[in-house]
Protein backbone atom coordinates (compact mmCIF):
# COMPACT_ATOMS: atom_id res chain seq x y z
CA UNK A 1 0.00 0.00 0.00
CA UNK A 2 1.23 3.45 -0.76
CA UNK A 3 0.51 6.74 0.88
CA UNK A 4 1.50 10.16 -0.28
CA UNK A 5 3.25 12.36 2.20
CA UNK A 6 3.92 16.08 2.06
CA UNK A 7 4.95 17.12 -1.45
CA UNK A 8 7.48 19.77 -2.29
CA UNK A 9 5.48 22.37 -4.14
CA UNK A 10 6.65 23.22 -7.63
CA UNK A 11 5.13 26.63 -7.82
CA UNK A 12 5.07 29.59 -5.55
CA UNK A 13 1.74 31.18 -6.38
CA UNK A 14 2.11 34.29 -4.22
CA UNK A 15 4.96 36.46 -3.11
CA UNK A 16 5.70 39.80 -1.53
CA UNK A 17 8.89 41.90 -1.40
CA UNK A 18 9.42 44.21 1.56
CA UNK A 19 11.81 47.14 1.99
CA UNK A 20 14.20 46.59 4.91
CA UNK A 21 13.13 48.39 8.09
CA UNK A 22 11.20 47.99 11.34
CA UNK A 23 7.86 47.15 9.70
CA UNK A 24 9.50 44.46 7.60
CA UNK A 25 11.26 42.98 10.62
CA UNK A 26 7.89 42.71 12.37
CA UNK A 27 6.19 41.23 9.30
CA UNK A 28 8.93 38.63 8.86
CA UNK A 29 8.63 37.65 12.54
CA UNK A 30 4.88 37.27 12.16
CA UNK A 31 5.20 35.14 9.03
CA UNK A 32 7.76 32.88 10.65
CA UNK A 33 5.48 32.43 13.64
CA UNK A 34 2.12 31.97 11.92
CA UNK A 35 2.94 30.64 8.45
CA UNK A 36 6.04 28.47 8.65
CA UNK A 37 5.72 27.25 5.04
CA UNK A 38 6.29 30.76 3.72
CA UNK A 39 9.73 30.87 2.12
CA UNK A 40 11.66 33.97 3.23
CA UNK A 41 14.87 35.26 1.64
CA UNK A 42 16.73 38.28 3.04
CA UNK A 43 18.49 40.17 0.26
CA UNK A 44 19.82 43.04 2.32
CA UNK A 45 17.92 46.09 1.10
CA UNK A 46 14.75 44.06 0.75
CA UNK A 47 13.28 40.74 1.85
CA UNK A 48 11.21 38.49 -0.36
CA UNK A 49 8.60 36.05 0.94
CA UNK A 50 6.73 33.57 -1.22
CA UNK A 51 4.35 30.66 -0.72
CA UNK A 52 2.37 28.15 -2.78
CA UNK A 53 -1.10 29.57 -2.14
CA UNK A 54 -1.49 32.31 0.41
CA UNK A 55 0.22 34.86 2.62
CA UNK A 56 -1.73 36.68 5.35
CA UNK A 57 -0.47 39.73 7.23
CA UNK A 58 -2.47 40.40 10.39
CA UNK A 59 -2.53 44.14 11.01
CA UNK A 60 -3.76 43.79 14.60
CA UNK A 61 -0.72 41.71 15.52
CA UNK A 62 1.60 44.08 13.66
CA UNK A 63 0.05 47.03 15.53
CA UNK A 64 0.73 45.31 18.84
CA UNK A 65 4.26 44.43 17.85
CA UNK A 66 5.12 47.94 16.64
CA UNK A 67 3.18 49.77 19.36
CA UNK A 68 1.15 51.94 16.98
CA UNK A 69 -1.88 51.32 14.79
CA UNK A 70 -0.82 49.78 11.48
CA UNK A 71 -3.27 50.11 8.60
CA UNK A 72 -3.12 48.80 5.05
CA UNK A 73 -1.35 52.00 3.90
CA UNK A 74 1.31 51.64 6.59
CA UNK A 75 2.18 48.21 5.27
CA UNK A 76 2.06 49.39 1.67
CA UNK A 77 4.82 51.90 2.45
CA UNK A 78 7.23 48.97 2.68
CA UNK A 79 5.66 46.60 0.13
CA UNK A 80 7.89 47.12 -2.87
CA UNK A 81 6.37 44.39 -5.01
CA UNK A 82 4.10 41.35 -4.99
CA UNK A 83 2.71 38.66 -7.25
CA UNK A 84 -0.62 36.85 -7.05
CA UNK A 85 -3.80 38.63 -6.02
CA UNK A 86 -3.64 41.29 -3.34
CA UNK A 87 -6.69 41.69 -1.11
CA UNK A 88 -6.60 44.49 1.47
CA UNK A 89 -9.13 43.83 4.24
CA UNK A 90 -9.56 47.00 6.25
CA UNK A 91 -10.58 46.55 9.85
CA UNK A 92 -13.46 48.32 11.57
CA UNK A 93 -11.08 50.33 13.71
CA UNK A 94 -7.57 51.69 13.07
CA UNK A 95 -4.82 49.11 13.48
CA UNK A 96 -6.97 46.10 12.59
CA UNK A 97 -7.71 44.09 9.47
CA UNK A 98 -5.35 42.20 7.25
CA UNK A 99 -3.49 42.23 3.96
CA UNK A 100 -4.04 38.95 2.14
CA UNK A 101 -2.22 37.62 -0.92
CA UNK A 102 -3.69 34.68 -2.79
CA UNK A 103 -2.46 32.65 -5.72
CA UNK A 104 -5.85 32.06 -7.30
CA UNK A 105 -8.44 34.44 -8.52
CA UNK A 106 -11.24 34.78 -6.03
CA UNK A 107 -14.31 34.01 -8.06
CA UNK A 108 -17.26 35.78 -6.55
CA UNK A 109 -20.26 37.51 -8.03
CA UNK A 110 -20.01 41.20 -8.72
CA UNK A 111 -16.31 41.58 -8.17
CA UNK A 112 -14.50 42.47 -11.30
CA UNK A 113 -11.11 42.78 -9.73
Amino acid sequence: MTVRTVPEPAQRGVGISLIAGEETTAIVAQLRRTQPTVNIVDRGVYTKADAPDEIVLDLGELSQELGRPIDVEDVLIVVTSYFGEIIPQRGATPGTGSLVLRADAIVSGGTGA
Binding site: R12, T80, R90
Partner: protein, 500 residues
Protein backbone atom coordinates in the same frame (compact mmCIF):
# COMPACT_ATOMS: atom_id res chain seq x y z
CA UNK B 1 -18.70 58.84 14.07
CA UNK B 2 -17.25 59.02 10.60
CA UNK B 3 -18.44 56.90 7.71
CA UNK B 4 -16.44 53.77 6.93
CA UNK B 5 -13.67 54.28 4.40
CA UNK B 6 -15.22 52.07 1.75
CA UNK B 7 -18.49 54.00 2.02
CA UNK B 8 -16.68 57.29 1.47
CA UNK B 9 -14.88 55.72 -1.46
CA UNK B 10 -18.24 54.75 -2.97
CA UNK B 11 -19.64 58.22 -2.42
CA UNK B 12 -16.74 59.92 -4.17
CA UNK B 13 -17.58 58.01 -7.28
CA UNK B 14 -20.95 59.80 -7.47
CA UNK B 15 -19.16 63.09 -7.82
CA UNK B 16 -17.78 62.63 -11.28
CA UNK B 17 -18.96 63.63 -14.69
CA UNK B 18 -19.38 60.38 -16.53
CA UNK B 19 -19.37 59.96 -20.26
CA UNK B 20 -23.12 60.39 -20.55
CA UNK B 21 -22.77 63.95 -19.34
CA UNK B 22 -19.40 64.77 -20.82
CA UNK B 23 -17.97 62.27 -23.29
CA UNK B 24 -14.25 61.72 -22.79
CA UNK B 25 -12.02 62.73 -25.64
CA UNK B 26 -10.98 59.40 -27.12
CA UNK B 27 -7.48 60.07 -28.39
CA UNK B 28 -7.15 56.49 -29.56
CA UNK B 29 -10.29 54.44 -30.15
CA UNK B 30 -10.30 50.98 -28.61
CA UNK B 31 -10.85 47.68 -30.39
CA UNK B 32 -11.97 46.07 -27.15
CA UNK B 33 -15.34 45.85 -25.51
CA UNK B 34 -14.78 47.37 -22.10
CA UNK B 35 -17.29 46.40 -19.41
CA UNK B 36 -18.21 48.87 -16.72
CA UNK B 37 -17.05 46.45 -14.08
CA UNK B 38 -13.49 46.40 -12.88
CA UNK B 39 -12.49 47.24 -9.36
CA UNK B 40 -9.61 48.85 -7.61
CA UNK B 41 -8.94 46.51 -4.67
CA UNK B 42 -7.30 49.28 -2.69
CA UNK B 43 -10.30 51.60 -2.77
CA UNK B 44 -7.87 54.35 -2.07
CA UNK B 45 -8.92 57.75 -0.81
CA UNK B 46 -6.84 60.82 -1.47
CA UNK B 47 -6.29 61.47 2.23
CA UNK B 48 -4.84 58.00 2.80
CA UNK B 49 -2.86 58.23 -0.41
CA UNK B 50 -1.34 61.56 0.61
CA UNK B 51 -0.43 60.33 4.09
CA UNK B 52 1.26 57.25 2.68
CA UNK B 53 3.18 59.03 -0.05
CA UNK B 54 4.40 61.77 2.28
CA UNK B 55 5.86 59.10 4.55
CA UNK B 56 7.49 57.35 1.59
CA UNK B 57 9.05 60.60 0.38
CA UNK B 58 10.31 61.42 3.87
CA UNK B 59 12.06 58.08 4.03
CA UNK B 60 13.72 58.52 0.63
CA UNK B 61 14.90 62.04 1.40
CA UNK B 62 16.20 60.95 4.79
CA UNK B 63 18.22 58.25 3.03
CA UNK B 64 19.62 60.80 0.56
CA UNK B 65 20.49 63.21 3.40
CA UNK B 66 22.23 60.39 5.24
CA UNK B 67 24.21 59.53 2.10
CA UNK B 68 25.36 63.16 1.84
CA UNK B 69 26.34 63.34 5.53
CA UNK B 70 28.28 60.10 5.38
CA UNK B 71 29.87 61.15 2.06
CA UNK B 72 28.91 57.70 0.88
CA UNK B 73 29.00 58.62 -2.81
CA UNK B 74 32.80 58.52 -2.51
CA UNK B 75 32.48 54.78 -1.96
CA UNK B 76 30.43 54.14 -5.09
CA UNK B 77 32.09 51.94 -7.68
CA UNK B 78 33.00 54.35 -10.56
CA UNK B 79 31.62 51.95 -13.17
CA UNK B 80 28.21 52.11 -11.49
CA UNK B 81 28.18 55.92 -11.66
CA UNK B 82 28.58 55.63 -15.44
CA UNK B 83 25.70 53.15 -15.56
CA UNK B 84 23.50 55.56 -13.61
CA UNK B 85 24.03 58.15 -16.33
CA UNK B 86 22.12 55.81 -18.64
CA UNK B 87 19.68 54.27 -16.13
CA UNK B 88 18.35 57.51 -14.64
CA UNK B 89 17.16 59.13 -17.89
CA UNK B 90 15.86 55.75 -19.09
CA UNK B 91 13.77 55.52 -15.90
CA UNK B 92 12.61 59.10 -16.34
CA UNK B 93 11.46 58.24 -19.85
CA UNK B 94 9.52 55.25 -18.51
CA UNK B 95 7.86 57.41 -15.84
CA UNK B 96 7.02 60.17 -18.29
CA UNK B 97 5.38 57.77 -20.74
CA UNK B 98 3.59 56.06 -17.83
CA UNK B 99 2.20 59.40 -16.64
CA UNK B 100 0.91 60.08 -20.14
CA UNK B 101 -0.45 56.53 -20.24
CA UNK B 102 -2.32 56.96 -16.96
CA UNK B 103 -3.85 60.16 -18.34
CA UNK B 104 -4.89 58.30 -21.47
CA UNK B 105 -6.54 55.62 -19.35
CA UNK B 106 -8.36 58.09 -17.11
CA UNK B 107 -9.90 59.76 -20.13
CA UNK B 108 -10.65 56.54 -22.02
CA UNK B 109 -11.99 54.04 -19.51
CA UNK B 110 -15.54 54.76 -18.49
CA UNK B 111 -15.40 53.35 -14.99
CA UNK B 112 -15.15 55.73 -12.01
CA UNK B 113 -13.46 53.23 -9.72
CA UNK B 114 -10.68 52.38 -12.16
CA UNK B 115 -10.40 56.06 -13.02
CA UNK B 116 -9.67 56.78 -9.38
CA UNK B 117 -7.03 54.07 -9.34
CA UNK B 118 -5.45 55.54 -12.47
CA UNK B 119 -5.60 59.07 -11.00
CA UNK B 120 -3.46 57.97 -8.09
CA UNK B 121 -1.20 56.26 -10.61
CA UNK B 122 -0.76 59.47 -12.62
CA UNK B 123 0.28 61.24 -9.42
CA UNK B 124 2.66 58.39 -8.62
CA UNK B 125 4.37 58.66 -11.99
CA UNK B 126 4.90 62.38 -11.38
CA UNK B 127 6.34 61.51 -7.97
CA UNK B 128 8.71 59.03 -9.59
CA UNK B 129 9.93 61.63 -12.08
CA UNK B 130 10.66 63.91 -9.14
CA UNK B 131 12.49 61.15 -7.28
CA UNK B 132 14.61 60.38 -10.33
CA UNK B 133 15.32 64.10 -10.57
CA UNK B 134 16.27 64.22 -6.89
CA UNK B 135 18.61 61.27 -7.38
CA UNK B 136 20.21 62.89 -10.40
CA UNK B 137 20.81 66.04 -8.38
CA UNK B 138 22.18 63.98 -5.50
CA UNK B 139 24.74 62.22 -7.70
CA UNK B 140 25.56 65.39 -9.64
CA UNK B 141 26.65 67.02 -6.40
CA UNK B 142 28.44 64.09 -4.83
CA UNK B 143 30.15 61.84 -7.39
CA UNK B 144 33.66 62.41 -8.72
CA UNK B 145 32.81 62.56 -12.44
CA UNK B 146 29.26 63.77 -12.92
CA UNK B 147 29.77 64.64 -16.60
CA UNK B 148 26.84 63.24 -18.54
CA UNK B 149 24.34 63.40 -15.71
CA UNK B 150 23.52 66.99 -16.64
CA UNK B 151 22.02 66.04 -20.00
CA UNK B 152 19.22 63.98 -18.53
CA UNK B 153 16.44 63.11 -20.93
CA UNK B 154 17.90 65.34 -23.63
CA UNK B 155 20.74 62.86 -24.02
CA UNK B 156 18.38 59.98 -24.35
CA UNK B 157 16.54 61.40 -27.32
CA UNK B 158 19.80 62.00 -29.19
CA UNK B 159 21.79 58.93 -28.24
CA UNK B 160 21.41 55.88 -30.48
CA UNK B 161 20.71 53.50 -27.64
CA UNK B 162 18.68 56.10 -25.76
CA UNK B 163 16.02 55.58 -28.41
CA UNK B 164 15.68 52.04 -27.09
CA UNK B 165 14.08 53.43 -23.94
CA UNK B 166 11.80 55.71 -25.93
CA UNK B 167 10.76 52.83 -28.19
CA UNK B 168 10.12 50.54 -25.22
CA UNK B 169 7.95 52.97 -23.30
CA UNK B 170 6.07 54.93 -25.99
CA UNK B 171 3.48 52.15 -26.51
CA UNK B 172 2.41 52.76 -22.91
CA UNK B 173 0.88 56.08 -23.84
CA UNK B 174 0.48 56.16 -27.63
CA UNK B 175 -1.86 53.26 -28.21
CA UNK B 176 -5.31 51.76 -27.97
CA UNK B 177 -6.09 52.41 -24.28
CA UNK B 178 -6.49 48.73 -23.42
CA UNK B 179 -3.30 47.87 -25.29
CA UNK B 180 -1.65 50.68 -23.32
CA UNK B 181 -2.97 49.26 -20.04
CA UNK B 182 -1.61 45.82 -20.96
CA UNK B 183 1.77 47.23 -22.04
CA UNK B 184 2.07 49.61 -19.10
CA UNK B 185 0.26 48.13 -16.12
CA UNK B 186 0.52 44.45 -16.90
CA UNK B 187 3.78 43.84 -18.76
CA UNK B 188 5.92 46.79 -17.67
CA UNK B 189 4.72 47.41 -14.12
CA UNK B 190 3.82 43.88 -13.06
CA UNK B 191 6.75 42.11 -14.70
CA UNK B 192 9.50 44.36 -15.91
CA UNK B 193 9.77 47.04 -13.26
CA UNK B 194 10.83 44.31 -10.82
CA UNK B 195 14.29 43.70 -12.30
CA UNK B 196 14.90 47.45 -12.61
CA UNK B 197 13.60 48.59 -9.25
CA UNK B 198 13.76 45.55 -6.95
CA UNK B 199 16.49 43.28 -8.32
CA UNK B 200 18.94 46.10 -9.14
CA UNK B 201 18.92 47.77 -5.68
CA UNK B 202 21.04 44.96 -4.17
CA UNK B 203 23.41 45.38 -7.15
CA UNK B 204 23.65 49.12 -6.47
CA UNK B 205 24.15 48.37 -2.80
CA UNK B 206 26.89 45.82 -3.54
CA UNK B 207 28.63 48.55 -5.55
CA UNK B 208 28.49 51.08 -2.74
CA UNK B 209 25.29 52.92 -3.65
CA UNK B 210 22.45 52.82 -1.11
CA UNK B 211 20.74 55.95 -2.43
CA UNK B 212 19.58 54.10 -5.54
CA UNK B 213 18.11 51.32 -3.40
CA UNK B 214 16.18 53.76 -1.19
CA UNK B 215 14.67 55.63 -4.11
CA UNK B 216 13.95 52.77 -6.50
CA UNK B 217 12.43 50.46 -3.89
CA UNK B 218 10.19 53.33 -2.87
CA UNK B 219 9.24 53.93 -6.50
CA UNK B 220 8.34 50.29 -6.87
CA UNK B 221 6.14 50.40 -3.77
CA UNK B 222 3.74 52.57 -5.81
CA UNK B 223 3.76 50.01 -8.60
CA UNK B 224 1.96 47.68 -6.21
CA UNK B 225 -1.19 49.69 -6.82
CA UNK B 226 -0.46 49.95 -10.54
CA UNK B 227 -0.24 46.18 -10.73
CA UNK B 228 -3.66 46.04 -9.08
CA UNK B 229 -5.01 48.64 -11.57
CA UNK B 230 -3.71 46.58 -14.46
CA UNK B 231 -5.10 43.42 -12.99
CA UNK B 232 -8.50 45.04 -12.43
CA UNK B 233 -8.61 46.30 -16.00
CA UNK B 234 -7.38 43.04 -17.51
CA UNK B 235 -9.79 41.02 -15.41
CA UNK B 236 -12.71 43.17 -16.54
CA UNK B 237 -11.73 42.99 -20.21
CA UNK B 238 -10.97 39.25 -20.07
CA UNK B 239 -14.48 38.47 -18.87
CA UNK B 240 -15.75 39.17 -22.39
CA UNK B 241 -14.68 36.15 -24.49
CA UNK B 242 -14.36 38.13 -27.74
CA UNK B 243 -11.64 40.19 -26.11
CA UNK B 244 -9.40 37.19 -25.38
CA UNK B 245 -7.62 36.96 -28.78
CA UNK B 246 -7.05 40.72 -28.69
CA UNK B 247 -5.68 40.56 -25.15
CA UNK B 248 -3.41 37.66 -26.06
CA UNK B 249 -2.03 39.46 -29.13
CA UNK B 250 -1.52 42.61 -27.12
CA UNK B 251 0.26 40.73 -24.36
CA UNK B 252 2.49 38.92 -26.89
CA UNK B 253 3.54 42.16 -28.57
CA UNK B 254 4.06 44.10 -25.36
CA UNK B 255 6.08 41.30 -23.79
CA UNK B 256 8.42 41.11 -26.75
CA UNK B 257 8.81 44.87 -26.95
CA UNK B 258 9.49 45.23 -23.25
CA UNK B 259 11.99 42.39 -23.38
CA UNK B 260 13.95 44.06 -26.16
CA UNK B 261 14.12 47.32 -24.24
CA UNK B 262 14.09 46.56 -20.52
CA UNK B 263 15.95 43.25 -20.51
CA UNK B 264 18.71 44.74 -22.59
CA UNK B 265 19.10 47.97 -20.62
CA UNK B 266 18.87 46.29 -17.23
CA UNK B 267 21.16 43.43 -18.30
CA UNK B 268 23.80 45.82 -19.60
CA UNK B 269 23.62 48.15 -16.58
CA UNK B 270 23.65 45.41 -13.96
CA UNK B 271 26.50 43.37 -15.46
CA UNK B 272 28.71 45.77 -17.44
CA UNK B 273 28.63 48.84 -15.17
CA UNK B 274 29.57 47.13 -11.90
CA UNK B 275 32.38 45.17 -10.32
CA UNK B 276 30.32 43.24 -7.77
CA UNK B 277 27.56 41.14 -9.26
CA UNK B 278 25.17 39.53 -6.75
CA UNK B 279 23.41 37.70 -9.58
CA UNK B 280 23.48 37.09 -13.32
CA UNK B 281 20.71 38.99 -15.08
CA UNK B 282 19.52 35.85 -16.80
CA UNK B 283 18.76 34.31 -13.37
CA UNK B 284 17.11 37.46 -12.03
CA UNK B 285 14.92 37.52 -15.12
CA UNK B 286 13.91 33.88 -14.60
CA UNK B 287 12.84 34.64 -11.05
CA UNK B 288 10.97 37.91 -11.53
CA UNK B 289 9.61 37.62 -15.03
CA UNK B 290 9.11 33.88 -15.58
CA UNK B 291 8.48 32.42 -12.14
CA UNK B 292 6.68 35.31 -10.48
CA UNK B 293 4.97 37.13 -13.32
CA UNK B 294 4.27 34.40 -15.87
CA UNK B 295 3.66 31.77 -13.16
CA UNK B 296 1.13 33.94 -11.41
CA UNK B 297 -0.39 35.20 -14.67
CA UNK B 298 -1.01 31.70 -16.05
CA UNK B 299 -2.57 30.55 -12.83
CA UNK B 300 -4.94 33.51 -12.63
CA UNK B 301 -5.66 34.13 -16.31
CA UNK B 302 -5.26 30.59 -17.67
CA UNK B 303 -8.90 29.92 -16.76
CA UNK B 304 -9.92 32.84 -19.01
CA UNK B 305 -8.15 31.20 -21.96
CA UNK B 306 -5.03 33.37 -21.87
CA UNK B 307 -1.60 31.76 -22.15
CA UNK B 308 1.94 32.86 -21.48
CA UNK B 309 3.44 35.29 -24.02
CA UNK B 310 3.97 33.65 -27.39
CA UNK B 311 7.69 34.35 -27.74
CA UNK B 312 8.78 33.26 -24.29
CA UNK B 313 11.22 30.71 -25.76
CA UNK B 314 12.82 33.33 -28.02
CA UNK B 315 13.01 35.78 -25.15
CA UNK B 316 14.77 33.18 -22.98
CA UNK B 317 17.20 32.53 -25.82
CA UNK B 318 17.86 36.26 -26.08
CA UNK B 319 18.61 36.48 -22.37
CA UNK B 320 21.70 34.33 -22.92
CA UNK B 321 23.41 36.75 -25.24
CA UNK B 322 21.51 39.86 -26.27
CA UNK B 323 22.74 42.22 -23.58
CA UNK B 324 26.31 41.02 -24.18
CA UNK B 325 26.01 41.92 -27.86
CA UNK B 326 24.54 45.34 -27.07
CA UNK B 327 27.17 46.02 -24.39
CA UNK B 328 30.04 45.50 -26.82
CA UNK B 329 28.02 47.48 -29.38
CA UNK B 330 27.81 50.39 -26.93
CA UNK B 331 31.55 50.08 -26.36
CA UNK B 332 32.28 50.02 -30.09
CA UNK B 333 30.16 53.16 -30.57
CA UNK B 334 31.62 54.78 -27.46
CA UNK B 335 32.37 58.24 -28.94
CA UNK B 336 28.59 58.75 -29.32
CA UNK B 337 27.90 58.04 -25.64
CA UNK B 338 27.27 60.48 -22.79
CA UNK B 339 28.97 58.19 -20.26
CA UNK B 340 32.25 56.31 -20.02
CA UNK B 341 32.73 52.57 -20.44
CA UNK B 342 35.47 50.84 -18.47
CA UNK B 343 37.20 47.96 -20.27
CA UNK B 344 36.61 44.57 -18.69
CA UNK B 345 39.44 42.76 -16.91
CA UNK B 346 40.38 39.14 -16.17
CA UNK B 347 38.05 39.00 -13.18
CA UNK B 348 35.14 40.13 -15.32
CA UNK B 349 36.03 37.63 -18.03
CA UNK B 350 35.94 34.78 -15.49
CA UNK B 351 32.57 35.91 -14.12
CA UNK B 352 30.97 36.14 -17.55
CA UNK B 353 32.26 32.74 -18.62
CA UNK B 354 31.03 31.19 -15.37
CA UNK B 355 27.57 32.62 -15.70
CA UNK B 356 27.20 32.57 -19.48
CA UNK B 357 29.18 29.57 -20.71
CA UNK B 358 30.61 30.30 -24.15
CA UNK B 359 30.84 34.05 -23.51
CA UNK B 360 34.67 34.18 -23.68
CA UNK B 361 34.86 32.75 -27.12
CA UNK B 362 32.75 35.49 -28.67
CA UNK B 363 33.15 38.52 -26.43
CA UNK B 364 36.49 38.33 -24.69
CA UNK B 365 38.54 39.08 -27.86
CA UNK B 366 36.28 42.05 -28.60
CA UNK B 367 36.69 43.49 -25.10
CA UNK B 368 40.44 42.92 -25.30
CA UNK B 369 40.53 44.84 -28.57
CA UNK B 370 38.44 47.60 -26.97
CA UNK B 371 40.89 47.83 -24.06
CA UNK B 372 43.87 47.90 -26.41
CA UNK B 373 42.40 50.89 -28.26
CA UNK B 374 41.55 52.95 -25.18
CA UNK B 375 44.49 55.39 -25.48
CA UNK B 376 44.01 58.26 -27.94
CA UNK B 377 47.68 57.84 -28.89
CA UNK B 378 46.63 54.62 -30.64
CA UNK B 379 44.42 56.75 -32.91
CA UNK B 380 42.06 53.93 -33.78
CA UNK B 381 38.53 52.88 -32.89
CA UNK B 382 36.96 49.45 -32.61
CA UNK B 383 34.26 50.95 -34.81
CA UNK B 384 36.76 51.19 -37.65
CA UNK B 385 37.20 47.43 -37.57
CA UNK B 386 33.60 46.91 -38.64
CA UNK B 387 32.87 46.60 -42.35
CA UNK B 388 29.79 48.78 -41.77
CA UNK B 389 27.85 50.10 -38.79
CA UNK B 390 24.88 47.90 -37.90
CA UNK B 391 21.47 49.41 -38.65
CA UNK B 392 19.11 50.08 -35.75
CA UNK B 393 15.90 48.08 -35.53
CA UNK B 394 12.97 50.24 -36.56
CA UNK B 395 10.82 48.79 -33.76
CA UNK B 396 12.98 48.28 -30.67
CA UNK B 397 15.87 50.57 -31.77
CA UNK B 398 18.54 48.04 -30.74
CA UNK B 399 21.53 47.73 -33.06
CA UNK B 400 20.95 44.77 -35.36
CA UNK B 401 23.61 42.64 -33.69
CA UNK B 402 21.07 40.68 -31.64
CA UNK B 403 20.32 38.19 -30.22
CA UNK B 404 23.90 37.06 -30.88
CA UNK B 405 26.67 39.33 -32.04
CA UNK B 406 28.11 36.50 -34.14
CA UNK B 407 24.72 35.43 -35.49
CA UNK B 408 22.32 38.37 -35.84
CA UNK B 409 18.81 37.66 -37.08
CA UNK B 410 17.90 40.97 -38.72
CA UNK B 411 16.14 41.51 -42.02
CA UNK B 412 15.69 44.56 -44.23
CA UNK B 413 12.11 45.06 -45.35
CA UNK B 414 10.47 47.57 -47.65
CA UNK B 415 7.32 49.34 -46.63
CA UNK B 416 5.67 52.19 -48.45
CA UNK B 417 8.73 52.58 -50.67
CA UNK B 418 11.22 52.86 -47.81
CA UNK B 419 13.72 50.42 -46.37
CA UNK B 420 13.60 49.46 -42.72
CA UNK B 421 15.77 47.20 -40.59
CA UNK B 422 14.03 44.82 -38.17
CA UNK B 423 16.16 42.85 -35.76
CA UNK B 424 13.98 39.78 -35.22
CA UNK B 425 10.76 37.88 -35.87
CA UNK B 426 9.23 39.52 -32.82
CA UNK B 427 9.96 43.04 -33.98
CA UNK B 428 8.80 42.21 -37.50
CA UNK B 429 5.48 41.04 -36.06
CA UNK B 430 5.14 44.23 -34.05
CA UNK B 431 5.99 46.35 -37.09
CA UNK B 432 3.36 44.54 -39.12
CA UNK B 433 0.71 45.25 -36.48
CA UNK B 434 1.13 49.01 -36.72
CA UNK B 435 3.63 50.00 -39.45
CA UNK B 436 2.61 53.67 -39.58
CA UNK B 437 3.58 54.38 -35.99
CA UNK B 438 6.99 52.70 -36.33
CA UNK B 439 7.82 53.90 -39.85
CA UNK B 440 7.52 57.54 -38.84
CA UNK B 441 10.48 57.28 -36.46
CA UNK B 442 13.72 58.67 -37.92
CA UNK B 443 16.87 56.55 -37.76
CA UNK B 444 20.09 57.67 -36.12
CA UNK B 445 22.33 56.78 -39.08
CA UNK B 446 19.89 58.35 -41.51
CA UNK B 447 20.10 61.64 -39.67
CA UNK B 448 23.91 61.70 -39.80
CA UNK B 449 24.56 60.03 -43.17
CA UNK B 450 27.75 61.47 -44.67
CA UNK B 451 28.79 63.38 -41.52
CA UNK B 452 32.22 63.25 -39.96
CA UNK B 453 32.07 61.46 -36.60
CA UNK B 454 33.51 64.55 -34.88
CA UNK B 455 30.67 66.70 -36.22
CA UNK B 456 28.12 64.15 -35.04
CA UNK B 457 29.53 64.36 -31.51
CA UNK B 458 29.48 68.14 -31.60
CA UNK B 459 25.89 68.05 -32.83
CA UNK B 460 24.92 65.69 -30.01
CA UNK B 461 26.62 68.10 -27.59
CA UNK B 462 28.29 65.42 -25.46
CA UNK B 463 31.38 67.58 -24.79
CA UNK B 464 32.95 68.54 -21.46
CA UNK B 465 33.02 72.17 -20.27
CA UNK B 466 36.46 72.77 -21.89
CA UNK B 467 34.67 72.62 -25.22
CA UNK B 468 36.84 69.86 -26.70
CA UNK B 469 37.12 66.83 -24.42
CA UNK B 470 34.49 64.15 -24.99
CA UNK B 471 32.11 63.25 -22.18
CA UNK B 472 32.40 59.67 -23.37
CA UNK B 473 35.72 57.91 -22.84
CA UNK B 474 36.72 54.29 -23.43
CA UNK B 475 38.20 54.04 -19.90
CA UNK B 476 37.75 55.56 -16.43
CA UNK B 477 41.18 57.21 -16.14
CA UNK B 478 41.66 60.89 -15.49
CA UNK B 479 44.32 61.22 -18.14
CA UNK B 480 44.62 59.98 -21.74
CA UNK B 481 41.31 61.65 -22.49
CA UNK B 482 40.00 61.74 -26.03
CA UNK B 483 39.17 65.14 -27.54
CA UNK B 484 37.20 66.15 -30.57
CA UNK B 485 40.52 66.72 -32.36
CA UNK B 486 41.52 63.08 -31.84
CA UNK B 487 38.22 62.01 -33.36
CA UNK B 488 38.48 64.41 -36.27
CA UNK B 489 41.97 63.12 -36.94
CA UNK B 490 40.56 59.63 -37.58
CA UNK B 491 38.51 60.80 -40.55
CA UNK B 492 35.55 58.52 -39.82
CA UNK B 493 32.51 59.29 -41.96
CA UNK B 494 29.08 57.97 -40.98
CA UNK B 495 27.50 55.76 -43.63
CA UNK B 496 23.84 54.91 -43.20
CA UNK B 497 23.68 51.15 -43.91
CA UNK B 498 20.16 51.65 -45.30
CA UNK B 499 21.12 54.54 -47.59
CA UNK B 500 19.99 53.94 -51.17
Amino acid sequence: MSAPTTRIHDLTKDYVWNSTTAPPAAVFPTRYRVPERGRDPFKLLMRDYARMEVEKDNRVHQALDRAVQLRSSEQIEPRWVEGLKLLLPATAEAEYQAMKGAGLLISSIDNPELQQGYSAQALDEARHLQLVGALRQHYSRTVADSQGLQFGSRALSRHPVGSVARAAFAPNSVNDPIDAAIALNVVLETAYTNPLTVAIPPVASANGDDAYAAAYLSIQSDEVRHMANGHGTLRAVAEIPENIPLVQGSLDRAFWHQHQGSDTLVGVASEYFVRNRPWAYRDAWEEWVVDDFIGSFSRRFGPFGLTEPARLGDVARGLESQHHAVAIGLAALWPLNFFRIDPLDEQDFAWFEDNYPGWSQVYQPLWEAYAALSDPAGAHLLLQELPAVPPFCQVCQLPCIVPRFEAPEFRIIEWSGKKFALCSDGCEANFAWNPISYASYGTFWGRYHGWDLADVILDLGFIRPDGKTLVAQPHLHEDRLWTIDHIRGLGVTIQDPLAP
